[in-house]
Amino acid sequence: MIELRINGTPHRIDVDPDMPLLWALRDHLGLTGTKYGCGIGECGACSVHADGSPVRSCQLPVSQATDADIRTIEGLAKGDALHRVQKAWLEHDVPQCGYCQSGMIMAVAAFLDFNRTPSDLELDQAITNICRCGTYVQIRQAVRAIIEAEGKTP
């Protein structure tokens, strides 16, 4: 049995200890907002937070996730109140197909907690998630808007 804490809720699931967290979330806990993209830690579609830090959940065995507070896209909003990154994504119409955006939003949310006023260059270097639709321009606009709304400049 593996014990996990996901979005503040404890879970016990009967899976192999080396199962990637991604599949425990998707196939065993029904949290399908976290997406499978490449399976080799490149694309970032599977990004979640472990104790607030972004991790590629396809690369993290569940046995190494048991001590962390895991947060997924389903747990980013506080009830009906969307996280500021989700709000900015809505306002700036960022997603196209949307498949990468759960991971993108989780990566950006964690990054903005770490660096509250990133430049575009810092954003580009930190956010290595891949979007096949090419929404990078809208992502930068949305992030700029978040920074400006909070009265900060890079």
Binding site: D27, T32, T34, T72, E74, D93, V94, G98, I105
Partner: protein
Amino acid sequence: MTLSRRRFLVDGLAVAGGFALGFPAGAAEGRETAPSPEVTAWVVIHPDDRVVIRIARSEMGQGTLTGLAQLVAEELECDWDKVGTEFPTPGANLARNKVWGSMFTAGSHGIRDSHLYVRQGGAAARMMLVEAAAWNWNVPAAECEVEKGVIRHGASGKTTTYGKVAAAAARLTPPDKDAIRLKDPKDWTIAGKPMNRLDTRGKVDGSLVYGIDLRLPGMMVATIASCPVKGGTLKSFDASAIAGSKGVRHVLAVDGVAVAVVADDF
């Protein structure tokens, strides 16, 4: 346009305005007992004025859903802020004699091939809604104006909303497509304008269900490895290497070129 929807043609009730029109007795505003909110196959209007536009093409990120909704809403003259969408199923389309036409979605055909008849579907709904209001007020439909889902009869000062007359409008026979005059695109205020997409919420909170997210009863998952060289064939594989792995059901050769592992989950 063939709209195979239910029709209530009542003997002795008449024809007005350019298209056949029949009311059941007493079908006045507010007196509906079993309202059908579907005005045309493309347009559903709820009593609280929420508009649901049916989208018969897939949305794969190109914005087809929102673009088609804009085209319908433009002719419907509804309040864009009250517009939502829903997808009819292929089964429903078949059961209703392809009332939504082709559902093919590829190569930019989604909007290009259907913009005319979805606009006609929106315009037909608008005409029926106005006709229903005019009938209720006992005035000619031609004297009524519509803006953002509010119907107004200038001479009498009467107003009503789409939501209030939708159930009555739903009982009308849709106008013949020859009676439908579409707006000149230069007068468009919704279609062709850069509106935010209607389906973004589910993409930012993880709730949108993609194909890979579906779980059906008894469903298993197969992952496939094939020869990395084009034309390469399968020589051998060692299924015993993963025998006893949790959840693994089968290890199969596929057409002599690939190996599939079938398991309960990924």
